[in-house]
Structure formats: structure tokens, C-alpha cells
């Protein structure tokens, strides 16, 4: 595959029909909530787009993000788009290994300096560079070097976006996100544990078509992370009616009522799961009967128990209650005694007025 081929040429060579290409453009437009008039614009821009070089760095991660993107159904248009970008380095997917792999990365970085897209999954250990290395190079050094020549960085997954599970308390490696370390490059966060495959490819398409997408305050593309799970949840009417599942196997659960009582984090989680869904639009956690864990939000691992509802306290309140009552009894006894003593001394000091006193001339 030649590197200077346009995306249109590549897709045609791979036997993708014009019809399915336009269908993909229409899906992408609706994913990004764009009007139908934008479909030809997406198609024309993508057609002419040069296959950009993509360098995918994996740091402290579980490969779940890569699993997610490769598990998008076989021979889907997303796969083809992914084949159509020049994925020059991805140490899980590439055939090369050892020094040949590292050389591929260095060559891609030199040839496409200032133009390549850097995709990062996994967090970076800030406590000690030795905690995670690739070919003897620390994650931090590799990120710094690769970020320097990148046009933009896409942080895929919650670990590279916010620190994710490695960042969870007590965070033994001092894990940090990409945006904690790199300040001089545009960074698009695509969080999720893992993110939805179509959202990963959607962000890349959006980047190729319109440049950097509109981002929310956490650096996430508004097109995919603009609405909360709660607001788009098909179980929302049950929340409004006050119908909740109390356990995982009660009548409410069987009837598909709201999972708020079981700890659903939908109201505080922004992602496209409720609309885009997983496994080719088959389902998403809430649809399969499990509350949302809030995996696309920072510190989701430490945000209280997964199964404790959002409105309830996260810590042991019994202790605070007992100490509060105890302190109140003690302080009350002290204050009460002081006031009682004051009252008694006032009674003692009270001078009675007699008839003689009244007769006295002043």
C-alpha cells in the first residue's frame, strides 16, 4: 500500500463500493449529530485525504482498548478505514518486533515529522520511569519524543485520558494521563474502559474531515461525549416514574426498570454507549441489566462503590454519627451545667423586696 495514496483510492483498491463508503459517511455524520447536508462534505474530504501516519503507543494498559477496536465486527468499514490509515507502529498489532519495530517507529516519526497522529493508550508512571519501559525506553521519554513531532495526540481509553485504573488509589506507580505531561500539543481524549470502537474511528474520521473536533472541559469530543448516559438512557422513563430495580433478580430487574438503586453512574457519565451501543449496536451495559460504572469519567475506579447509588454517602457514616452524638452529650452536659449554675447563683443573689423597702423614701 503506497503511502501517498488518497483514502478514496485505497478504499476502491480494497473493493469498497461507493455505496458502502457513502453509507459510512452518513453513519459518521449522524454519529457526530451533523445535518445530512454534511454527508457529501465528509465524503469529498475523506476521498481526498492522504493516508495519515498513525503511531500508536501503549503504556501502562491492559490492551483492552486495542481489543475493543479489533473486536469491531470482522471486515467492518471501520476496519477498512483503519487499514486505510497508515498504522506505522502498534506493538500489539504490528508484525515486526524488537529493534525492527522500534526502527519502524523512528522512521515514521522522521518521515512524517509534524504531520502524524499520535495515539496513546495507557497511563505513564511518574513515580519512577523504570516502572514501565519499551525497548529500554521509559514511557515518559517515548511519549515526549513522539509528541514532539505529532500534529495531534489522541488519548484512547481512560488510562491515557485521565490515568484510569493505574491511577486508582493508592496509585503505586504515580500514574498520570497524557495531558498531565504534554502541554504544547492538541490532545483529544477518547476515554472509556475501553472506548466504543466506532467512537475511536469516529474521532479519527472527524479529525481527518474537519480537523480538531470541539472538545468539552475534559478534552473529549462533544460529538460523542456531549450527552450523559442518563439523558439518553432508554430506561430513563422508569427513573422519572420512580420505578427501580432493588436487586439484580427482582421483579423490577426482570421488567427492565431503572438501575439507579443498584449504583448506576449514568447521571454523572458522559459517553455514547446509550446511543451508539456495543457489538455492532447490539446492546450496552444498562441494556444487559448492569448499572453503568462511569468508566469514561476521571477516577471512576475510586468514585465510591460501583454498586452504591450516587446519592448516598461513600464513607462509613455510623462512626461520624456515634462520635457526633457522643460529642454532643459531652458538650451539652458542660454547657447545661454552666447555665444551671448561673441560674442557681442568680436565684441566690435575688434580693427580696419587703413592704419596709417600699416605704423607704428614696
Amino acid at each position: 500500500m503506497k503511502k501517498d495514496q488518497t483514502l478514496g483510492e485505497t478504499l476502491r483498491r480494497q473493493g469498497v463500493s461507493r455505496r458502502s463508503f457513502l453509507k459510512f459517511c452518513a453513519t459518521t455524520a449522524s454519529l457526530m449529530a451533523l445535518p445530512p447536508s454534511m454527508i457529501p462534505v465528509i465524503a469529498a474530504t475523506l476521498e481526498k485525504a492522504r493516508r495519515p501516519s498513525v503511531i500508536w503507543l501503549s503504556f501502562q494498559e491492559c490492551t483492552g482498548c486495542t481489543e475493543s477496536i479489533t473486536r469491531s465486527s470482522s471486515a467492518s468499514i471501520e476496519d477498512l478505514i483503519f487499514n486505510a490509515i497508515s498504522l506505522d507502529y502498534h506493538h500489539t498489532l504490528q508484525a515486526a518486533s524488537g529493534s525492527a519495530a522500534e526502527q519502524a517507529r523512528e522512521t515514521a516519526m522522521q518521515e512524517n515529522h509534524g504531520k502524524y497522529i499520535l495515539v496513546v493508550d495507557g497511563s505513564i508512571p511518574a513515580a519512577n520511569n523504570g516502572y514501565s519501559t519499551i525497548a529500554g525506553i521509559s514511557n515518559f521519554d517515548m511519549l515526549k519524543e513522539a509528541a514532539e513531532g505529532a500534529a495531534a495526540i489522541v488519548a484512547v481509553g481512560s488510562c491515557s485520558s485521565f490515568g484510569g485504573i493505574p491511577h486508582a488509589n493508592p496509585n503505586p506507580t504515580g500514574a498520570v494521563s497524557v495531558s498531565d505531561l504534554i502541554k504544547d500539543k492538541p490532545i483529544v481524549n477518547v476515554p472509556g474502559c475501553p472506548p466504543i470502537p466506532a467512537v475511536i474511528t469516529g474521532v479519527l474520521v472527524q479529525f481527518l474531515t474537519f480537523g480538531l473536533p470541539d472538545l468539552d472541559h475534559l478534552g473529549r469530543p462533544k460529538a460523542f461525549y456531549g450527552q450523559s448516559i442518563h439523558d439518553r438512557c432508554y430506561r430513563r422513563p422508569f427513573y422519572d416514574k420512580g420505578l427501580f430495580a432493588d436487586t439484580f433478580d427482582d421483579e423490577g430487574a426482570r421488567k427492565g426498570w431503572c438501575l439507579y438503586k443498584l449504583g448506576c453512574k449514568g447521571p454523572t457519565t458522559y459517553n455514547a454507549c446509550a446511543t451508539e451501543k456495543w457489538n455492532d449496536g447490539t446492546s450496552f451495559p444498562i441494556q444487559s441489566g448492569h448499572p453503568c460504572l462511569g468508566c469514561s469519567e476521571p477516577d471512576f475506579w475510586d468514585a465510591g462503590s460501583f454498586y452504591r447509588s450516587l446519592s448516598t454517602p461513600t464513607e462509613n457514616i455510623g462512626k461520624a454519627a456515634v462520635y457526633g452524638i457522643g460529642a454532643g452529650l459531652l458538650a451539652g452536659a458542660v454547657v447545661g451545667s454552666v447555665q444551671r449554675a448561673r441560674k442557681q447563683s442568680a436565684v441566690k443573689a435575688h434580693q427580696r423586696v419587703t413592704i419596709d423597702d417600699l416605704d423607704k423614701e428614696s
Binding site: Y260, K261, T268, E297, S311, P313, A331, V335
Partner: protein, 219 residues
Amino acid sequence: MTEAEFLLWVRGPAFNAALFIMLAGIVVRFVEILFLGRKTNLAQARGSEVAGGFYTTWRRMIPDADSFIRSGFTIIAGYVFHIGLFVVIFLFVPHILVFERALGVSWGGLPSNIVDATTVVTIVALVAVLLHRIKDPVLRMLSNASDYLVWLVTILPLITGWMAFNRVGLSGPMLIGIHILSVELLMILFPFTKLSHAFTLFLARWYNGAIAGYKGVRS
């Protein structure tokens, strides 16, 4: 502090601190009142203190016809926002979950959108009583800064709660976080301001009723 950290803080350490202060405050006020005690009544009893106590505690809930004519607005608006607060605090399912966790007992809630409508009515009633307080020259003269503060900390959780439910303005975690924080402010000020009437009213009414009952009259 990120949004997530803020939400975790208000649900964790801040809630515990507010609960500690509220409970300690309530107990201090009760013990204080009980320690002061009452003067021994040397007169012969002409009726039951207990019956009088219970009667007055209940009877004060029902406004007299006379006071209704004199201050109908205060009574109606007062009832509306008190019943509204009861519905919003005790019959909204996410709130019941908090009580369930704290007390171990649970009860049925109302449909969330009925609670939502009740919240709006309660807010309107609270705004009306504030306007009345400001407009009425006697009420205005009797009011001090604490009265306005108490009004503010009462209406804040209602407004922030309504915003969190209807998801207005801010992000989900911020809305819920700010709502819980406003409730914590209410919890902290609860025992140390006029809000303490929510529990002292029973002692006060009981004393009044018991004194009258001892004398064999109705208060």
C-alpha cells in the same frame, strides 16, 4: 480539585463532617434545654401534664380560625412549603436511599416527576414568604440577618436539587456535587439557627401543654 474529586469529597469527608456537626448540635441543644429543667410547681395538680402535653403538641398543628383571618397568607404559604419540604426530602427515591443507609429502614417513594413539581411549588412558596417578610413593615423590623440566612440555606438545596434533576447548566457530577454540598450547609446550620425549631418545637409545645394540663385548662 476535579469534578470527580469534588463529588467524592462531598459524598465522603464533607458529608461525615456535616453529619457530625448536625448530630452534635442537636444533642447539645436538647441536653441544654433539659438541664435547665423546670421550676417545681407547688400548687395542687388539677389535671394531667402528659395529656396536656400530647394535646398541645398535636393541637398547634391546626391553625385557629382567628389567626387564619389575621395571617392567612403566612399559614397557607407556611403549610405549602413545609409539606413540600417533607415530600421532597422524604419521598424522593434517591433521598430515601440516603436514609436507608443511615437508619437501615426504607419506605416507598413518589414518582420522581411529582417530586419535581412539588419542588417548584415549594420554591415558589419560599419566595413568596420572603417577599412577604420584606414587604410587611412589622416582619421586616423583626427580621435579622440570621432569618435571611436560614431562608437561603433552605431554598438552596431545593434550587440545586431541581437543577440536578432537570440537569440544567452544569455537568452531571457538578450538579449533584453542588446539591449535596448545599444540603451539608443546611445540616451544619440546622441546630444553631431558627431551623432548630424542627426538633425544639416538640419540647416547647410539650412544656406549654403540660403547664396548662397541670392547671386543668386547655392551652
